[in-house]
């Protein structure tokens, strides 16, 4: 197994996945915000809400195009670069991806065309339904992708089949209702809603600072901060749920995120800040808050959380057990289904640790021939790098709380201070636009980097998952993606900025039609007041 191929393939996957996720959260959130705005339009018939729908819809469309395009890369890359992974777990992992296409992606992709082209071809209600279908489709998409990803974190409902040399599904319900997947789904879509809210808030704030499109901006802020506040609260609460589940199912990831070297007496303290040192197995300059870790991790005051050192000992035991399983598997395979019940029993007993034996394949072709030094190396591999995880997690959480404060502030000004926002707050809202993207990317980093050295936790090591490719192959496509994606990014940013600067288009035709329909009411002097500002 060539290590460089593994590193290059990981780099390419990380790059394309993180790039894809620059567009996904905005799609998730903006689709819902646009649908909310159009709902208000249909209910009140006020033209300004239609203008808002169209304006934010245009920005949604620019973003959606690249989100879709880069998503195709994601689906194909498993087969292109991770062919052994695709063979080994495709029986489980492929299903949610395919169902995503059937149930969700088809829906959003089919109706997004009508969203843009159907304004004159559909009734108001008809168009509103289309918009909601796009939003629902996008969000269901996220559900199935996170069921797939949740299985990589917590591989339930599957077992190894020696005849086919792969994992096979044993219970679809366990895969679908995987608690990790469900928590991740709500956490991820909420993060998308926060991203879109911060985006709408920031762009609107910029209009207010410039004194342009004031009506549109004020109303957009009202939608963004109420929606955003609910979402920001949900992100943190559901993030906490994720944390609780991680303690259960991915102990090493949790311990690494928190730099918990030793098993502490319950309730464990929470390390707020510090400098983790992997070699020395300690955190320097640590600031501890008592009890908090125990509460987050176990929701109790008396359950201890295992520390890294103890978990490493467990890893070593599992590697040794995995070698026994590997030996039994080789015997079963040679006997072609006629092996003795003892061998089968041995495999039953140790088969759950087969993946740990595969960790040794990085150092030796046959895990049964591993030396003690190689076992020690593989054991050490089960601990991901602590420092980046520790800090990525803290920055993400810090930003999450920041969004709650900001959304709450704008919500308060909107509700109780007559939609009057001080200039410093508006400036801050503009500056903070990139922050939710940073938080989202860091979140994925913690989830995926924290799972290393595994692609599927405890089942299949990353080093074993790759395709048989040459360095040249992957370097070529990596360079291709980098070049291509950079150009696309510049084009997309250019267009976004162009359309934001240009602002909403006055919808003259619609306004005329509306004025015509309400001529009689408009001619009564007392009813004119609320139309004065072209509402």
């Amino acid at each position: 197994m060539d290590l460089d191929i593994v590193e290059l393939s990981r780099l390419q996957f990380a790059l394309t996945a993180m790039y894809h996720f620059l567009f996904v959260p905005l799609t998730l959130g903006l689709s819902v915000i646009v649908a909310i705005m159009e709902t208000v339009y249909v209910m009140t018939r006020r033209v300004i809400w239609r203008q808002m729908t169209k304006f934010w819809g245009t920005l949604f469309g620019i973003n959606f195009a690249i989100g879709v395009a880069t998503g195709i890369t994601m689906e194909f890359q498993f087969g292109m670069n991770w062919s052994y992974y695709s063979h080994y777990v495709g029986d489980i992992f492929g299903a949610p991806l395919a169902i995503e296409g059937l149930m969700a992606f088809f829906l959003e992709a089919t109706f997004v065309g009508l969203f843009f082209f159907g304004w004159d071809k559909l009734s108001r209600i008809g168009h509103l339904v289309v918009t909601w279908l796009v939003a629902i489709g996008s969000n269901f998409s996220a559900l199935w992708i996170l069921i797939a990803n949740g299985w990589m974190q917590n591989p339930v409902g599957a077992a190894f089949n020696p005849e086919t040399m792969r994992m096979e599904m044993t219970s679809w319900f366990e895969v679908m209702f995987n608690p990790v997947a469900q928590a991740k789904f709500v956490h991820t879509v909420s993060a998308g809603y926060v991203t879109a809210s911060v985006f709408v808030l920031g762009v609107s704030a910029w209009y207010l600072l410039k004194g342009r499109h004031v009506d549109l901006a004020r109303r957009s802020i009202a939608v963004a901060c109420s929606f955003g506040l609910a979402a920001a609260l949900s992100v943190v609460v559901l993030g906490d749920e994720s944390g609780y589940l991680t303690t259960h199912d991915q102990k090493m990831k949790m311990a690494a995120m928190e730099a918990m070297w030793e098993t502490e007496e319950a309730p464990a303290s929470f390390t707020l800040l510090g400098v983790p040192d992997r070699e020395a197995r300690e955190t320097k300059y640590a600031i501890h808050i008592p009890y908090v870790m125990g509460l987050i991790g176990t929701r109790s005051l008396d359950t201890p959380i295992e520390g890294i050192k103890e978990l490493l000992q467990e890893s070593e035991q599992r590697i040794r057990s995995g070698i026994v399983a590997y030996d039994a598997l080789m015997t079963i395979r040679e006997d072609r289904g006629e092996s003795s019940p003892e061998v089968r029993d041995t495999f039953e007993e140790h088969g759950g640790n087969l993946g740990y034996a595969y960790l040794l394949k990085r150092y030796v072709d046959d895990p049964r021939e591993a030396t003690e030094a190689q076992i020690a190396q593989a054991t050490d591999d089960t601990l991901p790098e602590v420092f980046p995880l520790f800090w990525a997690f803290r920055i993400m959480v810090g930003l999450g709380f920041g969004f709650i404060i900001m959304m709450a502030y704008f919500f308060w000004r909107t509700s109780f201070r007559g939609r009057d926002y001080p200039r410093w707050a508006l400036r801050l809202a503009v500056i903070i636009i990139p922050a939710p993207w940073i938080a989202a990317e860091l979140g994925w980093f913690v989830a995926e980097y924290g799972r290393q050295p595994w692609t599927v936790d405890g089942v299949l090591p990353t080093a074993l998952s790759v395709s048989h490719l040459s360095i040249g192959d992957v370097l070529f496509t990596l360079a291709g993606f980098m070049l291509f994606y950079t150009v696309l990014f510049i084009v997309e940013m250019g267009l976004m900025l162009k359309y934001i600067r240009q602002g909403p288009v006055e919808d003259v035709k619609e306004t005329d039609v509306w004025m015509e329909q309400h001529k009689r009411r408009l001619s009564r002097p007392d009813d004119n007041s609320h139309l004065a500002s072209a509402e």
Binding site: G79, G90, A98, L102, F117, K121, M169, R333, K498
Partner: protein
Amino acid sequence: MILHELIGYDVLRVIWWLLLGILLIAFAMTDGFDMGVGALLPFVGKTDIERRVVINTIGPVWEGNQVWFILGGGAIFAAWPPLYAASFSGFYLAMFLVLAALILRPVAFKYRSKRDSVVWRTSWDWALFVGGALPALLFGVAVGNVLLGVPFELTPDLFTLYHGTMLGKLVGLLRPFALLAGVVSLMMLITHGAAWLSFKAEGAVASRARAIGSVTGLVTIVGFVLAGLWLMFGIEGYQLVNAPEPNGPSNPLLTEVARTASWLDSYSERPWAVAGPVLGLIGMIMTVIGLRAGREGSTLLWSKLGILGAISSVGMLMFPFFMPSSISPDSSLTVWDSSSSHLTLFVMLFATAIFLPLILVYTAWVYKVLWGKVTETDVTDGHSY
């Protein structure tokens, strides 16, 4: 869960072979005209407004059409994981080129008309050309290579190994027969795009499309017949040595495979499979006649029949093979040994039975809403690309 045993493993495998075929055919029938239109764009639209008409005939639907392809990929992953693993990595650089083209296309659609500069728009027009023509060509090349056999072998751990260097792998795909298959595929989809334009556009655009389409349609027919003759006389086929085990485990190494004189030998076992090429030829010929006579709706349907015939010819000819291996025939992937587990196939069928009819219903509704020709006034109303 024992519910899934209601349907036999062998039956599920055949159903999924059919479903995969249906998805790929649906993709070629729908996104096929999007690609064809992309490839025709610089030639049928002379002015900016004409090109916008061309783009807007597919503007509202290409996104949904493309999902057939994504769904096809997802179905291969879920129902045929060994095939997904071996083919996507085996055609690595070709897949990358397809991806690049497919990424270019949506962006070009959305962005082309968002700026008023001639350079900007012409650049995106050529991006649309590449985004349409390149995948259309490469899909055919891939089919040609599968018919010839792909140089891969499976280790006892079922890890896929390939022979050939990086560049060799890409250039190695361009064998003469595979290139012919690529040309047939490209010409067939361009003709399909022409049939679509003749249906959805009018005036100069439609007549140019008909003129080009009747030529590419003839090339398609000649190429298709040539490819058939080549298969008959010049290319070895593959066959199972022993009777298949339709309920056996999905381990390709358990079946023995040998070469035969020709793929067409299978017609003696399954004479009805001749229906594929016959339908294909009828469809292609009627398309050319329809384009020349200026018939609109029926020509599009004939063109779809041609596509159905051409793709199903390959599928039925090769059954039960998906991807034979030229260097280690026993590693070849077949319907009987490269599927998902019994349970997964059942779950996926269940989901498909619910959602595929829904997809067909709402797709039909969208086409109904968008019914009618796209005119030059349509594209200036601000809701268009």
